[in-house]
Amino acid sequence: MAVEIKLGDRVAWVNLLSQEGNILEVEVDGKIYNVDLMHTADGTFSILNGGHSYNIELVPDAEAKKYTAYTLYDTFDVEVIDAEARYLKNRNANGAGPSDNKISSPMPGKVVNVLVNEGDEVKEGDTVVIISAMKMESEYKAPKDGTVKKVHVKAEDTVDSNQVLIELD
């Protein structure tokens, strides 16, 4: 069973060729690996590849088939793109366009101030919302010129990560 896996900007094609217990033969973008892989139900992986020991932690995202992966060197966003995911992606592509009309909060926090109202004209780079988290205030700016279509938050609101704050037209 082969799927595509997105790792940061890279999309790799991966296939399981054979398995004997925890010894796997796996093909990644045409390169064949024979690995000894053990893992826990909650995403701790120990992989021995030609004797080299790799430790990987997978943290599942709220969305299925998406992970944050932690390695010795780095942290990655990982996504498994199987037939179902590909179907959904294609369907969405026919609908709404890319979402750079939306200003979202990358992390949880509290709204200090909303500087625009619905219907306001904004220019690229204008500060539209100020959010405070852990005693630090961050200014969120308009990604392009436009009109404010919808304001989803008000001062004192608590926001989650990836919550949409403002929509532009």
Partner: protein, 501 residues
Amino acid sequence: MNKIKKILIANRGEIAIRVMRTCRELDIETVAIYSEADRTSLHVRYAHEAYYVGKAPSSESYLNIEKILEVAKSCNADAIHPGSGFLSENAEFAKRCKEEGIIFIGPSPEVIVQMGDKIQAREAMTAAGIPIVPGTDGEIETEEEVLKVIDEIGLPIMIKASAGGGGKGMRLVKDHSEVVSAVRAARSEAKSSFGNDAVYIEKYITSPHHIEFQIMADQHGNVVHLFERECSVQRRHQKMIEETPSPLMTQELRDEMGKSAVEAAKAVNYYGAGTIEFLVDNDLNYYFLEMNTRLQVEHPITERVTGIDLVKQQIFVAEGQELAFKQEDLHQRGHSIECRVYAEDPDNNFMPSAGKVYKISAPLGLGVRTDGYVYEGYEIPIYYDPMISKLIVWGKTRDEAIARMRRALYEYKITGVKTSIKMLERVMNNENFISGDYDTHFIEKNQEQLFSKNTSDDSNDMVIIAAFIDYLDKIGSTDSVSKEFVPAQSRWKKIPYVNHF
């Protein structure tokens, strides 16, 4: 002498745990207070007793003086330790403790007022003959005043919160055009952090080293210093890495600055633990920057090289005991480094990253100390400081300490939230840091190396394989999941989906 039997710790997070550890070692009962966001925070579980003091925003809980005193009295605490941050440099709180007959573990309210207000502090130090950085004599209120000062001392300047500390309410101005927004931002942060929006101006020294001296003084006029801490590795004017001894320091300069620090403390009749912060330029001129009238976040490196438990000494001083050591009993042995681990994203302008901690592996073994408070499954609240732990190492030499810190950072794994760990590891591999050649501009000067990522293709392929197996595992074994009781703990398994191909 008042033997202290029960201490309320008016703080949270790692510093609350730090203080409670020493209390336990002294057989002193500990009382935690907690806000609505902190019912399951570790300090509540570590303490003997714990009481709710208010809503999540610190103004309603950890800064709620009357509520905290009410709890202290009702549980018969003899003393209150304020930790660092929150009320630790709040003179009103120290005064109210005194009025209620509760020992405040810290200096007198008078000296907190005097040193806590950076403007008064500069005046006191000038009077005592300690060199200070050129700047305003008092608070500034209008943009015009700022521009006038700039005319006098030149750019760049620093706008600083009069009641400030810890990098909060501080803005650098390099150009006239930045004055308005810098003053607004500094005032706003000062207001929300300290409840006081007064700000003042100092000349900004180019290539400065931030070096501070630890002071310990009793109530009988004895004052010693416990040597310096080099704190120049900073981001957003907030310390990130500290070490002692300072690689810049000479023995002559150490003796001279140590003497200045002791004199500064004596000049204001200081008692308790305190820190005199200096700016040192490349020519080894030093200027008084400010005095912190509390325990510093970076105090563990001093503890490690001197062998003195500073919290224990704070408690002894608060009991009225005389210091058990003199200046000549104190020695710096070996080298100690502290790295602060923040829940933040170094690749995204050090943006704070609250959220749920998934897994933690803390570094252990020879020469490593960890002071933290988060645990697996803990939801880091958005309301408080993003520092989640401090990693302190010791080595016989600076090189050994750096190698050990590198090893400890390698072992340290926190998943679920973004942290500064990988970035700290890159500092330990930075050649300027290794050679000891750095000032407070270290991060911007070395950003190319510090923000570059190591990558390895093989390693990336292993991540892809792991995600692939996890995916196969989940689609293959969903049928059986609900059949058996699975304790919520890690559990190695052979790959179970063999029947599903």
